[in-house]
Symmetry: C2
């Protein structure tokens, strides 16, 4: 295992901190936002563009890559980095979340998850051991244990049984992972729905197994924002301070600020890329829907002070036109912009933490982001 996590600066007022991950494909400053490259590409972008924006780590989805093009083919290609030509770090999830989200048949037993492909209905089986084999074939720098992401809402009884089984799966993953060897690091995932005692118990058991990093799973699945923040607060107390914390699938710019304040170091979310494809862009003044008629003769860039390729070269008028006529360049430009927005935000947050001004930065960002009336503010 090639892994090191160092904390640079601990905010004195909040739990926010900056740090650095040392991984097989280079260093990653934390807090970090990881764009999602579901099928071996962060949608609409090239690896060169992601490097130019400044991302040092991106995600791949094990479930999707296992089905298409298959982890064996990716292994033959020299692994995921080589397959997609990305020389920096990667993280793969375990597929657990995707399988649970499937509308198709799935059956969970102690042994693992039986499921049908969303593409052709074919039957597949993910056990903790099998998922480790797949994630080793993919070869990402950080890999995740197979867990059950309990549906929301669920009974406390269900949540407890599910979380307990996820701990047993985590143990099996670790054993298999160590057998397979190599430079990859395996993270555990805390479950327990929105029940504080279950979450605390689950986190402690995972910490007992000992992973180099811990994810907080099963959030951002429909619960109230207050529940999410309460659980993250709790995790900040329970999880070891010297290990990275990764809040999976989160979130909006405001979510990033709130959860960094509560000690989270790593995030991933499809939001910047998915919204981009719907013609929605993030700006310091909130989110704007560039498709809207009011931008028809708006010759300004998406955001005045943005350094991205879209903002340096094109007007809202032009981008609106491209999106409306469904030209690929439109989605490319909104995607580049949104990813630049997220990476800039997280970079500014790191700088604010390092200079002891995080709370002030957060207050100012939120004030401006939510002030304007002519934009959607989420």
């Amino acid at each position: 295992m090639s892994f090191k996590f160092s904390i640079y600066t601990q905010d004195t007022i909040t739990s926010a901190r900056t740090g650095e991950l040392e991984l097989p494909h280079g260093k990653v400053k934390t807090p970090v936002f990881m764009p999602v490259g579901t099928l071996g590409t962060v949608k609409a972008t090239s690896p060169e563009e992601l490097e130019n924006i400044g991302f040092d780590i991106i995600l791949g989805n094990t479930y999707h890559l296992y089905l298409r093009p298959g982890d064996e083919l990716i292994k033959k290609s020299g692994g995921l980095h080589s397959f997609i030509n990305w020389d920096r770090n990667m993280l793969t999830d375990s597929g657990g979340f995707q399988v649970m989200s499937l509308q198709q048949f799935r059956k969970i037993t102690e042994q693992g998850i039986e499921f049908q492909s969303h593409i052709d209905g074919s039957s597949h089986f993910f056990s903790p051991e099998r998922v480790m084999e797949i994630e080793h074939n993919l070869g990402a720098d950080i890999i995740m244990v197979l867990d059950e992401c309990a549906p929301y809402p669920c009974t406390k009884e269900y949540a407890k049984e599910s979380a307990d089984m996820s701990v047993r799966w985590a143990k099996r993953c670790k054993i298999k992972h160590e057998q397979l060897g190599g430079e990859q690091s395996l993270f555990g995932i805390v479950q327990g729905s929105i029940f504080d005692d279950l979450r605390e118990e689950n986190a402690k058991e995972l910490v007992g197994i000992d992973f180099p990093g811990y994810a907080i799973g099963g959030l951002a699945v429909g619960e109230n924002k207050e529940d999410m923040l309460r659980i993250v607060n709790l995790m900040d107390k329970v999880l070891p301070k010297d290990k990275p914390r990764y809040l999976m699938g989160v979130g909006t710019p405001l979510d990033l600020l709130e959860n960094i304040e509560r000690g989270v170091d790593m995030f991933d979310c499809v939001m910047p890329t998915r919204h981009a494809r719907n013609g929605q862009v993030f700006t310091r003044d909130g989110r704007l829907t560039v498709r809207n008629g009011k931008y028809k003769e708006d010759f300004r860039p998406l955001q005045d002070d943005c350094s991205c390729y879209a903002c340096r070269n094109f007007s809202r008028t032009y981008i609106r036109h491209l999106i409306n006529v469904k030209e690929i360049l439109g989605v490319r430009l909104t995607t580049l912009h949104n990813l630049t927005f997220y990476n800039t935000l997280i970079k500014e947050i790191r700088e604010a933490i390092n200079s002891g001004t995080f709370s002030e930065y957060k207050k100012n960002f939120i004030e401006r982001y939510t002030r304007s009336n002519d934009v959607q503010n989420i």
Copy 2:
């Protein structure tokens, strides 16, 4: 008008020649292939990428831009160059070809063409004068007269009436164009279907009006390749040697070679970009359909000696995967490759003409391009 055409080298064996156009947005070496940017973007590419490949001139479609986003909006944006952020040259067609291709209602009279939008069925009218206004609003460096592109096949009677009217429209275009003034150059378009005498008469009448360049229209609309080449041979004799000849909407790599041999200087075609979107790529060994199963474990680049971003960084395996799962990056990569292929081909053709080896180059290219059995050769 800011326009100059100089011939560098006249091939001694064939009618092939190299030259240079001097236009408001810089020089363009001929023969030249112009990618098609129908709606203000060459599909799937950015202007930066087109510049990096080496294109000095691209096309815009007047019909499409008139409907969306509208020529008035583009004028307000500072013209098409500014709207799409392209500092090099542009050419706009007149919309005549698109209107004739419409499935919707259209009515042609001496005054112009009444037609319904393919988007919302709304009624519009293109007269020669109106099209000049629109093309002046767009502001391309080279603009085209409104013509009627006669359907294929058509009777000789229809072809004659149509071609004669197109000459009258060409005169009206020139008058309006001169009234409007400015730096744009207006090209005439020869019509006359596949009838030699009509084509000759039509070309002579257009030359009598006097344009800085002449397009050969109404070809590549379904006629035999032999008919096309015979008409182009004829045009080589009839059109003035010292003016550029532009074969509209053509064509395959072999079409380029055959028609350059017959004295054509300019080409445009959607083929490299459209095929790219269908997962078909051009190589020196013919066209290959990268979606096909046989490329599943083909870790070579699309073409071994290609310098494009796709070939320098990605395998057929990966690109096949991207195309099959409909990821935008797949189409981006095949598009970059195909455009690079076309630009490399035309550059090599220019070099061959300049060094007196065009016929040899053509023979060798065709031999390799059509030799292989495992590719489609068109």
